[in-house]
Protein backbone atom coordinates (compact mmCIF):
# COMPACT_ATOMS: atom_id res chain seq x y z
CA UNK A 1 0.00 0.00 0.00
CA UNK A 2 1.35 3.38 -0.97
CA UNK A 3 0.80 6.78 0.61
CA UNK A 4 -0.94 9.23 -1.67
CA UNK A 5 -1.38 12.98 -1.77
CA UNK A 6 -4.18 14.43 -3.87
CA UNK A 7 -3.58 17.85 -5.40
CA UNK A 8 -6.25 20.05 -6.91
CA UNK A 9 -5.89 22.98 -9.25
CA UNK A 10 -9.35 23.66 -10.59
CA UNK A 11 -10.45 20.74 -12.71
CA UNK A 12 -6.98 19.24 -12.73
CA UNK A 13 -6.32 16.58 -10.13
CA UNK A 14 -3.06 14.84 -9.38
CA UNK A 15 -2.78 11.62 -7.43
CA UNK A 16 0.84 11.56 -6.24
CA UNK A 17 2.32 8.51 -4.53
CA UNK A 18 6.02 8.84 -5.25
CA UNK A 19 8.65 11.54 -5.53
CA UNK A 20 7.21 14.43 -7.50
CA UNK A 21 10.58 15.91 -8.36
CA UNK A 22 10.85 14.57 -11.90
CA UNK A 23 7.47 13.31 -13.05
CA UNK A 24 6.72 13.06 -16.76
CA UNK A 25 2.98 12.73 -17.45
CA UNK A 26 1.99 10.85 -20.57
CA UNK A 27 -1.06 9.34 -22.21
CA UNK A 28 -0.87 5.55 -21.87
CA UNK A 29 -4.44 4.82 -22.97
CA UNK A 30 -5.84 4.72 -19.44
CA UNK A 31 -9.08 6.60 -20.06
CA UNK A 32 -9.24 9.99 -18.39
CA UNK A 33 -5.84 9.64 -16.76
CA UNK A 34 -2.33 10.71 -17.60
CA UNK A 35 0.27 8.35 -16.20
CA UNK A 36 3.10 10.00 -14.27
CA UNK A 37 6.43 8.20 -14.40
CA UNK A 38 9.68 9.02 -12.71
CA UNK A 39 11.92 10.26 -15.48
CA UNK A 40 14.89 8.09 -14.43
CA UNK A 41 13.40 4.90 -13.01
CA UNK A 42 10.30 4.93 -15.26
CA UNK A 43 8.26 3.73 -12.29
CA UNK A 44 4.68 4.96 -12.09
CA UNK A 45 4.55 7.54 -9.29
CA UNK A 46 1.40 9.52 -10.10
CA UNK A 47 -1.78 9.83 -12.06
CA UNK A 48 -3.30 13.05 -13.30
CA UNK A 49 -6.69 13.96 -14.68
CA UNK A 50 -6.84 17.15 -16.72
CA UNK A 51 -10.59 17.69 -16.32
CA UNK A 52 -11.98 15.66 -13.46
CA UNK A 53 -15.61 16.91 -13.48
CA UNK A 54 -15.91 15.98 -17.14
CA UNK A 55 -13.84 12.79 -17.13
CA UNK A 56 -14.88 11.26 -13.81
CA UNK A 57 -17.21 8.67 -15.35
CA UNK A 58 -14.72 7.84 -18.07
CA UNK A 59 -12.03 7.19 -15.46
CA UNK A 60 -14.26 4.77 -13.56
CA UNK A 61 -15.30 2.95 -16.73
CA UNK A 62 -11.65 2.78 -17.79
CA UNK A 63 -10.60 1.34 -14.45
CA UNK A 64 -13.16 -1.45 -14.89
CA UNK A 65 -11.70 -2.35 -18.28
CA UNK A 66 -8.06 -1.71 -17.34
CA UNK A 67 -7.91 -2.02 -13.55
CA UNK A 68 -4.98 -0.71 -11.54
CA UNK A 69 -4.34 -3.32 -8.88
CA UNK A 70 -2.22 -1.22 -6.53
CA UNK A 71 -3.76 0.01 -3.30
CA UNK A 72 -3.28 3.44 -1.79
CA UNK A 73 -3.78 5.35 1.41
CA UNK A 74 -4.74 9.00 0.94
CA UNK A 75 -2.79 10.97 3.52
CA UNK A 76 -3.53 14.55 2.50
CA UNK A 77 -5.38 16.78 0.08
CA UNK A 78 -3.72 19.90 -1.25
CA UNK A 79 -6.23 22.48 -2.47
CA UNK A 80 -3.67 25.10 -3.41
CA UNK A 81 -3.54 27.31 -0.37
CA UNK A 82 -4.39 24.61 2.18
CA UNK A 83 -3.19 21.09 2.78
CA UNK A 84 -5.61 18.98 4.82
CA UNK A 85 -4.74 15.65 6.44
CA UNK A 86 -7.18 12.87 5.56
CA UNK A 87 -8.31 10.32 8.13
CA UNK A 88 -11.24 8.86 6.22
CA UNK A 89 -11.23 5.02 6.31
CA UNK A 90 -12.88 4.94 2.88
CA UNK A 91 -9.57 5.99 1.31
CA UNK A 92 -7.22 3.91 3.41
CA UNK A 93 -5.96 0.77 1.69
CA UNK A 94 -8.24 1.69 -1.21
CA UNK A 95 -8.14 1.08 -4.95
CA UNK A 96 -7.77 3.99 -7.32
CA UNK A 97 -11.38 3.53 -8.39
CA UNK A 98 -12.52 3.88 -4.77
CA UNK A 99 -10.41 7.00 -4.36
CA UNK A 100 -11.77 8.53 -7.57
CA UNK A 101 -15.31 7.84 -6.36
CA UNK A 102 -14.51 9.42 -2.99
CA UNK A 103 -13.04 12.55 -4.59
CA UNK A 104 -16.13 12.96 -6.72
CA UNK A 105 -18.51 12.58 -3.80
CA UNK A 106 -16.53 14.79 -1.42
CA UNK A 107 -15.41 17.61 -3.71
CA UNK A 108 -17.49 17.69 -6.89
CA UNK A 109 -20.91 16.05 -6.57
CA UNK A 110 -22.45 19.02 -4.74
CA UNK A 111 -21.16 21.37 -7.43
CA UNK A 112 -22.78 19.22 -10.12
CA UNK A 113 -26.05 19.30 -8.18
CA UNK A 114 -25.90 23.07 -7.83
CA UNK A 115 -25.29 23.45 -11.55
CA UNK A 116 -28.23 21.16 -12.34
CA UNK A 117 -30.47 23.16 -10.02
CA UNK A 118 -29.38 26.43 -11.64
CA UNK A 119 -30.17 25.01 -15.07
CA UNK A 120 -33.56 23.74 -13.86
CA UNK A 121 -34.40 27.14 -12.33
Amino acid sequence: MEKMEIRFCGEVIEFIFGSSKRIVFGDESQPGLEIGRDKKSQKIVAFMCLDFPYLYNRILQGLKVKPISRRFSVESVDEGDTVSPICDPRVKNATLAEIVQWVWEKYYAHLAQETAMEVAA
Binding site: R7, E11, F25, G26, E34, Y108, L111
Partner: protein, 149 residues
Protein backbone atom coordinates in the same frame (compact mmCIF):
# COMPACT_ATOMS: atom_id res chain seq x y z
CA UNK B 1 -9.16 39.08 -33.29
CA UNK B 2 -6.32 40.80 -31.48
CA UNK B 3 -3.13 41.49 -33.40
CA UNK B 4 -0.94 38.61 -32.25
CA UNK B 5 2.73 38.35 -33.12
CA UNK B 6 5.34 35.90 -31.84
CA UNK B 7 7.58 37.35 -29.16
CA UNK B 8 10.83 36.24 -27.61
CA UNK B 9 11.10 35.57 -23.89
CA UNK B 10 11.89 39.13 -22.87
CA UNK B 11 9.30 40.65 -25.21
CA UNK B 12 6.65 38.23 -23.92
CA UNK B 13 7.43 39.15 -20.32
CA UNK B 14 7.02 42.81 -21.24
CA UNK B 15 3.77 42.04 -23.10
CA UNK B 16 2.00 40.64 -20.05
CA UNK B 17 -1.31 42.42 -19.56
CA UNK B 18 -1.77 43.37 -15.91
CA UNK B 19 -4.95 45.38 -16.47
CA UNK B 20 -7.06 42.72 -14.70
CA UNK B 21 -4.49 41.72 -12.08
CA UNK B 22 -6.14 41.16 -8.73
CA UNK B 23 -9.55 40.31 -10.20
CA UNK B 24 -10.90 36.93 -9.23
CA UNK B 25 -12.90 34.19 -10.89
CA UNK B 26 -14.29 30.82 -9.85
CA UNK B 27 -13.18 27.68 -11.64
CA UNK B 28 -15.22 24.51 -12.25
CA UNK B 29 -14.41 23.19 -8.79
CA UNK B 30 -15.52 26.38 -7.09
CA UNK B 31 -11.93 27.39 -6.31
CA UNK B 32 -11.22 31.10 -6.26
CA UNK B 33 -8.47 32.21 -8.63
CA UNK B 34 -6.76 35.59 -8.52
CA UNK B 35 -5.56 36.86 -11.87
CA UNK B 36 -1.84 37.61 -12.09
CA UNK B 37 -1.74 38.58 -15.76
CA UNK B 38 -3.06 37.77 -19.21
CA UNK B 39 -1.12 37.01 -22.36
CA UNK B 40 -2.23 37.00 -25.99
CA UNK B 41 -1.90 33.64 -27.79
CA UNK B 42 -1.62 32.70 -31.48
CA UNK B 43 -5.30 31.75 -31.46
CA UNK B 44 -6.18 35.40 -30.92
CA UNK B 45 -7.46 35.22 -27.37
CA UNK B 46 -5.97 36.09 -24.03
CA UNK B 47 -5.14 33.38 -21.51
CA UNK B 48 -5.24 34.10 -17.80
CA UNK B 49 -2.36 33.06 -15.57
CA UNK B 50 -3.57 33.02 -11.97
CA UNK B 51 -1.65 33.00 -8.74
CA UNK B 52 -3.18 29.61 -7.96
CA UNK B 53 -1.91 28.09 -11.22
CA UNK B 54 1.56 29.42 -10.51
CA UNK B 55 1.43 27.97 -6.98
CA UNK B 56 0.35 24.61 -8.38
CA UNK B 57 3.22 24.48 -10.88
CA UNK B 58 5.71 25.28 -8.11
CA UNK B 59 4.98 21.86 -6.63
CA UNK B 60 6.65 20.22 -9.62
CA UNK B 61 10.28 21.28 -9.30
CA UNK B 62 11.28 20.47 -12.87
CA UNK B 63 8.32 22.27 -14.42
CA UNK B 64 8.59 25.09 -11.88
CA UNK B 65 11.92 26.06 -13.42
CA UNK B 66 9.92 27.34 -16.37
CA UNK B 67 7.27 29.18 -14.40
CA UNK B 68 8.54 32.56 -15.53
CA UNK B 69 8.39 31.33 -19.13
CA UNK B 70 4.59 31.06 -19.13
CA UNK B 71 4.22 34.32 -21.10
CA UNK B 72 6.67 33.13 -23.76
CA UNK B 73 5.26 29.59 -23.95
CA UNK B 74 1.69 30.84 -24.25
CA UNK B 75 2.47 33.63 -26.71
CA UNK B 76 4.87 31.62 -28.85
CA UNK B 77 4.16 27.91 -28.41
CA UNK B 78 5.55 25.26 -30.72
CA UNK B 79 2.18 23.61 -31.06
CA UNK B 80 -1.40 23.91 -29.81
CA UNK B 81 -3.55 20.80 -29.89
CA UNK B 82 -6.96 19.90 -28.53
CA UNK B 83 -7.19 17.39 -25.74
CA UNK B 84 -9.19 14.64 -27.44
CA UNK B 85 -10.78 13.63 -24.15
CA UNK B 86 -12.73 16.85 -23.68
CA UNK B 87 -13.65 19.86 -25.74
CA UNK B 88 -13.07 22.81 -23.49
CA UNK B 89 -9.34 22.41 -23.03
CA UNK B 90 -6.31 22.83 -25.18
CA UNK B 91 -2.72 21.83 -24.67
CA UNK B 92 0.03 24.29 -25.50
CA UNK B 93 3.36 22.57 -26.16
CA UNK B 94 6.82 24.05 -25.99
CA UNK B 95 10.19 22.34 -26.16
CA UNK B 96 12.64 23.76 -23.65
CA UNK B 97 16.14 22.36 -23.20
CA UNK B 98 15.15 19.21 -25.07
CA UNK B 99 12.07 18.62 -22.92
CA UNK B 100 8.47 18.79 -24.11
CA UNK B 101 6.33 20.83 -21.75
CA UNK B 102 2.54 20.88 -21.92
CA UNK B 103 0.42 23.71 -20.55
CA UNK B 104 -3.25 22.90 -20.02
CA UNK B 105 -5.60 25.78 -20.81
CA UNK B 106 -9.22 25.44 -19.78
CA UNK B 107 -12.25 27.48 -20.66
CA UNK B 108 -15.17 28.45 -18.49
CA UNK B 109 -17.73 30.81 -19.98
CA UNK B 110 -15.62 33.38 -21.82
CA UNK B 111 -12.53 32.92 -19.65
CA UNK B 112 -9.55 30.85 -20.69
CA UNK B 113 -7.04 30.07 -18.01
CA UNK B 114 -3.97 27.99 -17.29
CA UNK B 115 -4.48 25.09 -14.90
CA UNK B 116 -1.17 23.28 -14.96
CA UNK B 117 2.10 22.74 -16.76
CA UNK B 118 3.85 19.40 -16.87
CA UNK B 119 6.54 17.50 -18.69
CA UNK B 120 5.18 15.22 -21.39
CA UNK B 121 6.84 12.42 -23.38
CA UNK B 122 4.70 12.98 -26.49
CA UNK B 123 1.89 15.06 -27.96
CA UNK B 124 -1.23 13.66 -26.33
CA UNK B 125 -3.36 11.54 -28.62
CA UNK B 126 -0.99 11.27 -31.60
CA UNK B 127 0.48 7.85 -30.84
CA UNK B 128 -2.97 6.50 -30.00
CA UNK B 129 -4.32 8.00 -33.27
CA UNK B 130 -6.96 9.90 -31.33
CA UNK B 131 -5.89 13.08 -33.11
CA UNK B 132 -3.89 13.75 -36.25
CA UNK B 133 -1.96 16.67 -37.69
CA UNK B 134 -5.18 18.07 -39.15
CA UNK B 135 -6.51 18.55 -35.62
CA UNK B 136 -3.65 20.81 -34.59
CA UNK B 137 -4.81 24.33 -33.89
CA UNK B 138 -1.42 25.93 -34.41
CA UNK B 139 2.10 24.84 -35.37
CA UNK B 140 5.07 27.15 -35.17
CA UNK B 141 6.94 27.29 -38.47
CA UNK B 142 9.86 24.89 -38.42
CA UNK B 143 8.68 22.89 -35.42
CA UNK B 144 9.41 19.20 -35.98
CA UNK B 145 6.34 17.81 -34.24
CA UNK B 146 6.88 14.24 -35.50
CA UNK B 147 9.78 13.94 -33.09
CA UNK B 148 7.18 14.02 -30.32
CA UNK B 149 4.63 11.53 -31.58
Amino acid sequence: MENWKPLNREQALAARDFSRAGETFIDHKGLLHEISYLILTPLGYYVIVSKQALQHVEKHPKAARYKTDFPHFLNNPDLIAPNYEFETAQLYYKVAEGTLLAIAVHQKDDLRFVTTMHKAPTIKGIREKKISQTDFLYIRGGFKWKKWK
